[in-house]
Every structure is written in C-alpha cells, then in structure tokens.
Amino acid sequence: MADATHDTGAVLAQAAAWKAAGKGVAIATVVRTWGSSPRPAGSKLAVDDTGAFVGSVSGGCIEAAVITAALDVIAGAPAQRLGFGVSDAAAWEVGLACGGKVEVFVEAVT
C-alpha cells in the first residue's frame, strides 16, 4: 500500500540521486501540524535546483511556497522554518472539511 513509509523512501532515494548527480538539493519536512492537515509530521518533499520535486508536505496548497524556499536554501540561504495557516477555502480545495496549520523545515543537502 502507498503509505508514508514508502513515500519517504522514494523521497530520500531521489534526493540522494540528485545529489550524486551533482545537483543542488533541499529537503522539506513537516515538523508539526495543528487541526486538520493532509500530511503528518515527518512527511517529506525533496527539491532539486531546477524546482523539480518529489514527495508531499500538504495536499498541494503550500507546495509552491515550500519549493520557493527550497530554491533559496539551495542557493545558500540558511535553513528555514515556515509556518502556514491553511485557509478554509484552500482546505476545501484539498478535500478537508476545515482549516489547519502546518510548520515545515527546509534545509539543503550539503
């Protein structure tokens, strides 16, 4: 079954493969969630220096902002902690009945 463990393995493997190929790589990880959130703490998203990504830290509503932060981190910015409040409207888009909050940690693979 497509559980979080399998997702995590694929994300880690892709991050390592990108790094081995000489690309810049960042990994974003869900640190905490409050209320309804589509992905639990520990969920991961890996990003390369072209913005290509694998994995998920939400149902899709915050991925763009996380990828932007990941590109900054790959370019040399320090690791970042990002907080997101998922609005009711956005939460509806991802299939949730109510809003939630999520904190994401973004760091480069060095």
């Binding site: 079954m1 790094k19 990880t29 640190v31 703490a41 520990g42 690791a79 940690f105 760091e107 693979v109």
Partner: protein, 225 residues
C-alpha cells in the same frame, strides 16, 4: 543535512534497522540515532517517537530537535497455505503488513487461492532463514503438521521476530513445546511462543479466527499484549 547523513539514513532503512533521524531545527545538525546511542537529552523522545511511530519535537537547551522515526515495514510470514491463511493474509495486507505465505506443497500455495500475495515454496526452515524475520516481523504456523511447523518455529525462535505463534489446540501446543524443548530451547525461549494463537473472542469461522490472530499480532506489535 549532510549528504553522508542522508546516505546513512537510506542504508539503515534498507537494512531494516530501527532508527530515528534527529534534525536540529536551527539547521545546525542532523544525525541518525537509535534508542541505544541517542544523546541523553533526546533519548526519551526518540524512544517515544519509535514506540508511537510518529514524529515528535524535543526541546533541548532552548532549541528544538525534530525526531522522526524510521521503522522497517511490518511483515507477516504464514507457514501453511491452509484455509485460514486466506482471510488472515488478506486482512493482514489491509492492516499494512507485507505478507508471505510459505508452503512447499504446490497444490496448496496457489495464486488462485491467494491473489496478489507473495507465495514461497521453499521448506519452512529454508524460507524463514532467507526471509530473515526482524523486530517488525510476525511468524505464524498454521499447518498442524510437525514436519512443516516445527522447522519453521525452530528457525523463527532464533530471530528477533516480535511474534511467533502456532495454530493448534492446548494439547497439541503442549506436545509442540515438549518437542522444541527436546530440540534445545529453554523456558525463556519457549515463553515467546504464542499458542494456541489468537485473542479469545469466541471465533468460529476461518475469518473470525483470522481476526483473533491478527488482533493478537497487533496487540503484540503495539505493546498491548
């Protein structure tokens, strides 16, 4: 995170080791740790994260450390492609277990009876040795035939499998324990054997018996029994 730490985490997962990734949320450090080698300030949170199978944040020296458990997949090895194995394999798969059904009797272990399941036609002792049960693996013998069950149990009791169980009556279980004692297992080793398998829920049909066995396996996995 350093690429070497990422490689270490991937290797630990591939080796089915029970580890946690500790990430200092100021970006200063990330390490792969175990319950045994975690820094003292993190040890309790590492143990809790692994036990509860969820990521937790530890507070240390005014900073925060994300503790992320990385556990091998849960596996269930069934010895004996008997009638009860059909609902048990299907239910265990639904509960997230990777299931392997071991039975060298080709007429029993057929894809028609076990659609989508992994079948292993080796003798049980060879199969158990090759499958290498770990701390997240349960082994259950179902054949009632000592020629098949006993070699599987002898092999399984030499592994760290979290659950080793045998289908059968109290009477046949006593005889089984006596045979295994004669094979060299002491009381401590035999205390690991669950038999007769299953929670006492009054199960009658094969599907109900499967529920009782799977319930006991999950209770054992979660430390509830």
């Amino acid at each position: 995170m350093k690429a070497a730490v990422l490689a270490e985490l991937i290797a630990a997962r591939a080796a089915h080791r029970v580890v946690a990734l500790a990430t200092w949320l100021d970006g200063s450090d990330a390490r792969v740790v175990t319950v045994d080698d975690a820094p003292p300030a993190l040890a309790a949170t590492v143990a809790q994260a692994l036990r509860e199978e969820r990521a937790l944040v530890a507070e240390v020296d005014g900073g925060e450390v994300l503790i992320e458990p990385h556990l091998p997949p849960t596996r269930l090895i069934l010895v004996g492609a008997v009638h009860i194995a059909e609902p048990l394999a299907a239910m265990a798969a639904l509960a997230g277990f990777a299931v392997t059904i071991v039975d060298p009797r080709r007429a029993w272990a057929t894809a028609a009876r076990f659609p989508g399941q992994t079948l292993d036609g080796r003798w049980p002792d060879d199969a158990i040795a090759a499958l290498a049960p770990d701390l997240r693996t349960a082994v259950v013998t179902l054949t009632h035939d000592p020629k098949l069950d006993d070699p599987a149990l002898i092999a399984a009791l030499r592994t760290p499998a979290f659950y080793v169980g045998c289908l059968g009556s109290q009477k046949t279980h006593a005889a089984r324990r006596a045979r295994l004692a004669a094979a060299g297992f002491d009381d401590a080793a035999l205390a690991r054997l669950r038999g007769p398998v299953g929670l006492r829920i009054g199960a009658r049909s094969p599907a109900e018996i499967a529920v009782s066995i799977l319930g006991e396996i999950i209770a054992s996995l979660r430390g509830a029994a």
